[in-house]
Each structure stands twice: as structure tokens, then as C-alpha cells.
């Protein structure tokens, strides 16, 4: 079973990575990051069940990650709203302050 889960997680991660790197809309970029995080969670859970040394630690760690991801999404969306108010756009191409 493990390879199927890992393949699934890898596909999910690649989709997330693609979205994070390519999409213009900042909201979709945030969503893609969530997708990548969840791919990692899937890996953790899969290894905790079918790994060489099954252990609950993986599942607990997954729960921990979900918590952190919720906090991250809250902060990210808050920053995004602040940015939208300031710049009037959520297009990531427009945000190039780090050039200098």
C-alpha cells in the first residue's frame, strides 16, 4: 500500500508546487501551499501506518502540521488583505519590492 500513498502524495505535492510557482492569483498560490502541506501530511500518516517502524508519532505530527497550517493560512490571508488594500491587486507579478 505504501507506494500508492507515496505516489499520491508526490502527485499532490507537484500540483501544489506548480500552482505556487505559476499561478498569478495570490489566493490560489496560498491554496497551492496548503496542497503541498497536505501532501506532506499524507506522507507522514502513510509512514506511521505502513512504514518500516510504524508509530503514532507520524499521525500526531500530521495533526500538529494541520494546526500550524491553519495559523499560517490565517496570517497569509491577513497579509493578502492588507496588500490588496494597499495595492488594489492580488496579482503576484505586481509584488516585486524584493528586487532591490
Amino acid at each position: 500500500m505504501l507506494p500508492s500513498y507515496l505516489t499520491m502524495a508526490a502527485i499532490l505535492f507537484c500540483i501544489g508546487l506548480y500552482g505556487a510557482l505559476v499561478k498569478r492569483n495570490a489566493v490560489i498560490v496560498l491554496l497551492s501551499i496548503e496542497l503541498m502541506l497536505n501532501a506532506v501530511n499524507l506522507n507522514l500518516v502513510a509512514f506511521s501506518k505502513y512504514g518500516v517502524v510504524p508509530s503514532l508519532t507520524g499521525q500526531i505530527f500530521a495533526l500538529f502540521t494541520i494546526t500550524v497550517a491553519a495559523a499560517e493560512a490565517a496570517v497569509g490571508v491577513a497579509v493578502l488583505i492588507a496588500l490588496f488594500r494597499a495595492r488594489g491587486t492580488v496579482n503576484v507579478d505586481e509584488f516585486d519590492e524584493m528586487r532591490r
Binding site: L17, A20, V92, D96, E97, M98, R99
Partner: protein, 624 residues
């Protein structure tokens, strides 16, 4: 009793101190500079005389003193000085000529802007030459040998504004360097094979004079001797490498007298004398030395017949006389070689200084633009005449005795070289009489722009001193008085004396002068008669056997071609690679700058690419 001998190391330091002082003072102290240079040389002369007088004591033993310089493992290199009879004689020659040249230059170089620089160089040269003479081992000898070469380079190129002087300086340096490479190789081979790697002259003497004690094989001995002889060929202007010496006449005339007649070019002969045991141990090397010397003597004397530049004639004469000395060495007559070196130093320095006096007065070096100077420059003419007679080998002038010593030993050892020597002596007498009659006799040339006067006292007094020496110096060794020989070699060398050699040598000398007088003095033989009969020969001699052209064609061009191709390699391959990397780095930097557009996603993409590269490397290493 030999307290002066023990302090002989001070002798080179006087001119060295003068050099440092002159360099420190700069160009403004013109009169003081002349004084400093002269006093330095005078102090060295006085010290040398004191050492020399101590050496006259028949019980005097060779004295050497030194300290450890470098210790490598269990090998210790010592440097030090050594005083032998030969060295003390050389000390006298070098310091005396150097002092007289210092005095002479005060007049000759009076108007030159860089006179203090000139005196500094002369002092440095004197220091180096004295160091060379006093050195007690081959390595120190080699260091000073190169140092005199540098001084020669500096002084030949002293008037560096003249392109010819620049070229001559370079030529002098490079051509002698070819010989010096051989000398260095010889020293290295010697170092390798000597028991205990000893390089000092007394060890060399001990090893080689035992008649092949088995320490060093015959073939090695011969190759060491021939390699050392390469150095002699370069420095003393022997046949294949003589080309630099005539060109070196571009330097100031006092320098030609000091360096290129009396002292530095004699260093090669001195080297032969210092390492004479090595040469004596190998018959093949001795023959090579003798034939090279003999060939150079006749070859250069013939070229001198057809030259028109007064200094060039004297330069070829110097080459020819050095050939005599080398030939004497090769014939096993160290006494003859050193004796001729001794007398030659005086009369050739005299001839050069007198020529300088003439050049100073008429501002040309072409003998056909002179003429009739005898009545206007009496002292110069008389002293030049004495030098010319001495060089031509007319008794009782010093050159006769030394040339006779060489010819007598040649008659005993090798009749062929005796004939060669006689022929060279005839040419010598002929070209000297030609020079003398054209320059000082006859009618004065139209191309003398102003009143010609005798030179100042500071120039004529050295001439007079040298003239006295040219007359008297020969009596230290005569066929019936072998004082110099027994003093130099400790009585080990037989005195060669034969009436036949004396008569033949006087006969060719007188004959040469008589023919010269008929052609150039009386004019009863048409001057161009000989040239008209064999125009090809005259042309060959005038162009110095086309040796310069030959070297230019065969060596200079090919070396220059190699140099050019290497320069092209440097320019296009190495320089191209450097430029390519510079260009690539700048272009890569530009591209990366363009990538840094401040967008988060580009940063992310870069990070992902980097991660992929790292993974690829890690995975790839497994399959490598």
C-alpha cells in the same frame, strides 16, 4: 708580516662604498662624484699594491679566509676570498687600470650630464671585478662573473639615447649569456662530481692536479673543461661568440679601455688560469682551447685589417690578442697567457684611451676623417705609437716579450699554431701601422671642423703612465729571466725560449710595420692594390666575414620566429582563454541580475532548480 693579505677582502669594498655614495648623492654633485670615484679606486690600488708587495716574498703562502654561507643537510657552502700570486697580479691590473680610467674620465666625460652615474657604474664594475678576482670558490666567482656582465651591459648602453648603443648593450648581454649558460652547467657538473661537492679552487686544484686520482673520470673532466670554456668563449670574445665585442664599442671610450680591453674580457683568461688544473687534466680540452684561441687570433687580426672605425679596429685587435692568451693557455703555457694578459691590459688600455683622446678632439671615429693629427696632439700620438709598437711586438716594448713567450711555447708544442701565431702577429703589425699612419701622419683631412688641440691633463697623464708601463712591464719575464713564471706557478713550469721564435717574431713585426709604412706612410704601394686584386676578400674582411649576417639569418631570425609564435600563442590562446572567462563571468552575472526581478515565484523556482541539481548530483554519484 702578511697583515695586508689578511685584509685583502677590504679591497673590493672601497669601490663598492664609492658606488653606494655616488648612488646616494645623486647627479648634482658632479665634481665631488668624480673625486669619490677616483678616491675609491685609488684606495683599492694602494691596498692592492701593499698586498702585491707582500706576495713578492718567495715564502708567501696562499691565504684564504671565509665563512659558512649556506648549510644544506651535511653540505656547507663557504664563501670567502683567497690571495694567491695570480690573484694579486690581477688585483694590480684591475685597480691600476680602473684608477687611471677614473682619472681619464674626469676629462673625457666632463660635459656629460650623467657623469656621476657613470662613475657609479665604473665603481660598481671595479667592485665586481675585484670580487671576481678574489673569490675563492666557483659559485662566488660565478656571481661576480655575472655582475661584471651587468656592469658591462649598463656601461655599453650608457648613452642609451642612441639606438645603436641600446642594441649593442643588449647584444653584449645576450651573447655572453650563451657562454655563461655553459659556465653555469660546468659549475653544476663540477659540483656534482667533486668529492664532497667542494667548489673552492684549492680543492679543485688538489683533485685535478693529482693526475687523475680516479675521483673523476676522463670524459667527465673533458666535459667540465669544455663547459667552462664556453664561459671563456663568451666573456673573452672567442670565435663563435666574439660578435658582441666590436659592437660594445658603442659605449664611452674609457669603458672600452677598462672593461672591453683590460679587465672584464680578460676574466675569461683568468678563469682558464684559475681552473687550469681541470684543463691540464684533459688533453682533448687543451687542444680545443688552443685551436679556438689560435683561430680567433688570426681571424680577428684579419678582420681588423679592413675596418675603418678606430675603436672597431682596436676591438678586433683585442679579440685577436685574447685569442693569443687563450691559445697560450691551451698550449699549457699559463705563464705566457697571464703574462700577455698583464702586458695587454696596459698597452691596450693605453691604445683605447689614446683613441678616446683622438675621438674627443675630432668628434669622429672614422680613421679616414682624421689624418695628420701627430703634430697637433703630440702626447697622444707618442703614447699611441708606443702602444702600437708594443702591440705589434717590437722589442723592447712589453708586448714583444709576452707575445714571444707565447710563440716560443707554441713552437715547442705545436708548430702549426706557431705559424698561425706568426701570421696573426704580421696582421697585427700591419693593421696597427695602418691605423697609426692614417690617423697621425699624412695630410689632415678636410673634414676637421675646428682647431684640434691636445686633450686636457687629466686625459694625458693616464696615457703617460700607461705608456711607461707598456714599455717596462715586459721585463718581468724575458727568455733569460723567468721570474713571472716561477712566481706564478711556483717554479713548476719550464721557460720556453728559442732564438728562432724571437727572430721570427721580430721579423714579422718589422715586416708588418714596413709593409704598412709602404702602403699608408710612404704611399709607394697603392692602398687599394691589395683590395683590387681580391675584392671578394676585402669585402669579406670589411663585413667581418658576414658573421653578424649569418647569425641574423640562422639564429636571430629563427629565435625571433619562435618568440613571435610563442607571443601569438600567449596572445590568442592564453589571452583568449582569459578574455573568454572574463566575458563569460560578466555575461553570466548580467543574466543572473536580470533574473532577480523581485518576484517571489522566481525565487521559488530558483530554489527548486537548485534542489533538483543537488538531488541529481547526489543520485548521480551513486552511478558514477
Amino acid at each position: 708580516m702578511d697583515q695586508f693579505t689578511q685584509t685583502a677582502w677590504l679591497i673590493p669594498l672601497f669601490p663598492f662604498a664609492a658606488f653606494l655614495l655616488l648612488t646616494a648623492l645623486g647627479r648634482s654633485y658632479r665634481r665631488a662624484g668624480v673625486m669619490i670615484g677616483s678616491v675609491g679606486a685609488l684606495a683599492a690600488l694602494v691596498m692592492s699594491l701593499l698586498v702585491f708587495f707582500e706576495r713578492l716574498d718567495p715564502d708567501a703562502v696562499d691565504y684564504s679566509e671565509g665563512f659558512n654561507w649556506i648549510t644544506l643537510g651535511d653540505y656547507t657552502l663557504k664563501i670567502g676570498f683567497e690571495v694567491t700570486n695570480l690573484n694579486s697580479l690581477m688585483l694590480i691590473i684591475v685597480t691600476l687600470v680602473s684608477f687611471l680610467v677614473n682619472v681619464y674620465s674626469a676629462g673625457y666625460m666632463k660635459k656629460d650630464e650623467r657623469i656621476t652615474v657613470f662613475y657609479g657604474y665604473v665603481a660598481l664594475f671595479t667592485f665586481a671585478m675585484l670580487g671576481l678576482v678574489l673569490s675563492d670558490n666557483m659559485l662566488v666567482f660565478y656571481i661576480f662573473w655575472e655582475l661584471v656582465g651587468v656592469c658591462s651591459f649598463l656601461l655599453v648602453g650608457f648613452w642609451y639615447a642612441k639606438p645603436a648603443a641600446r642594441a649593442a648593450a643588449k647584444k653584449a648581454f645576450i651573447v655572453t649569456r650563451i657562454g655563461d649558460a655553459g659556465l653555469l652547467l660546468g659549475i653544476i657538473v663540477l659540483f656534482w662530481y667533486m668529492p664532497g661537492h667542494a667548489l673552492d679552487f684549492s680543492s679543485i686544484h688538489n683533485v685535478f692536479s693529482e693526475g687523475q686520482s680516479g675521483a673523476i673520470t676522463m670524459s667527465i673532466t673533458t666535459s667540465i673543461a669544455l663547459l667552462l670554456f664556453m664561459g671563456v668563449i663568451g666573456k673573452s670574445g672567442q670565435f663563435p661568440l666574439h660578435v658582441w665585442l666590436p659592437d660594445a664599442m658603442e659605449g664611452p671610450t674609457p669603458i672600452s679601455a677598462l672593461i672591453h680591453a683590460a679587465t672584464m674580457v680578460a676574466a675569461g683568461v683568468f678563469l682558464l688560469a684559475r681552473t687550469f688544473d681541470i684543463f691540464e687534466a684533459s688533453a682533448a680540452a687543451m687542444h680545443t682551447v688552443a685551436y679556438f684561441g689560435g683561430f680567433t687570433a688570426i681571424f680577428a687580426a684579419m678582420v681588423a685589417l679592413a675596418q675603418n672605425d678606430i675603436k672597431r679596429i682596436l676591438a678586433y685587435s683585442t679579440i685577436s690578442q685574447l685569442g693569443y692568451m687563450v691559445m697560450a693557455m691551451g698550449l699549457g703555457s699559463m705563464t705566457g697567457g697571464i703574462f700577455h694578459l698583464f702586458t695587454h691590459a696596459f698597452f691596450k688600455a693605453l691604445l683605447f684611451l689614446a683613441a678616446g683622446s683622438v675621438i674627443h678632439a675630432v668628434h669622429t671615429q672614422n680613421i679616414h676623417e682624421m689624418g695628420g693629427l701627430g703634430s697637433k696632439m703630440r702626447i697622444t700620438a707618442w703614447t699611441f705609437g708606443i702602444g702600437a709598437l708594443s702591440l705589434s711586438g717590437i722589442p723592447p716594448f712589453s708586448g714583444f716579450w709576452s707575445k714571444d713567450a707565447i710563440l716560443a711555447s707554441a713552437l715547442d708544442e705545436n708548430p702549426f699554431l706557431f705559424v698561425v701565431g706568426l701570421a696573426a702577429a704580421f696582421c697585427t703589425a700591419l693593421y696597427m701601422s695602418r691605423l697609426f699612419f692614417i690617423v697621425f701622419m699624412g695630410k689632415s683631412s678636410v673634414r676637421q671642423p675646428r682647431e684640434v688641440r691636445e686633450s686636457s691633463k687629466s686625459m694625458t697623464i693616464p696615457l703617460l703612465v700607461l705608456a711607461v708601463l707598456s714599455v717596462g712591464a715586459g721585463f718581468v719575464e724575458t727568455p733569460w729571466n723567468g721570474w713571472l713564471g716561477s712566481w706564478l706557478t711556483g717554479g713548476g713550469e719550464e721557460v720556453h725560449a728559442s732564438a728562432a721564435a724571437i727572430i721570427a717574431s721580430i721579423a714579422v713585426g718589422v715586416l708588418g710595420i714596413y709593409v704598412g709604412w709602404l702602403m699608408y706612410g710612404k704611399g709607394s704601394i697603392e692602398r687599394g692594390a691589395a683590395a683590387a686584386k681580391a675584392p671578394w676578400l676585402a669585402n669579406l674582411l670589411e663585413r667581418q666575414y658576414y658573421i653578424n649576417e649569418f647569425y641574423d639569418l640562422v639564429i636571430v631570425r629563427s629565435v625571433r620566429g619562435i618568440g613571435k609564435s610563442l607571443a601569438a600563442f600567449d596572445e590568442y590562446v592564453i589571452g583568449g582563454a582569459v578574455r573568454f572567462f572574463g566575458f563569460a563571468t560578466v555575461t553570466g552575472g548580467r543574466m543572473l541580475t536580470r533574473m532577480n526581478n523581485g518576484q517571489t515565484q522566481v525565487f521559488g523556482l530558483t530554489a527548486v532548480i537548485g534542489l533538483l541539481v543537488i538531488i541529481a548530483v547526489i543520485v548521480g554519484r551513486r552511478f558514477w
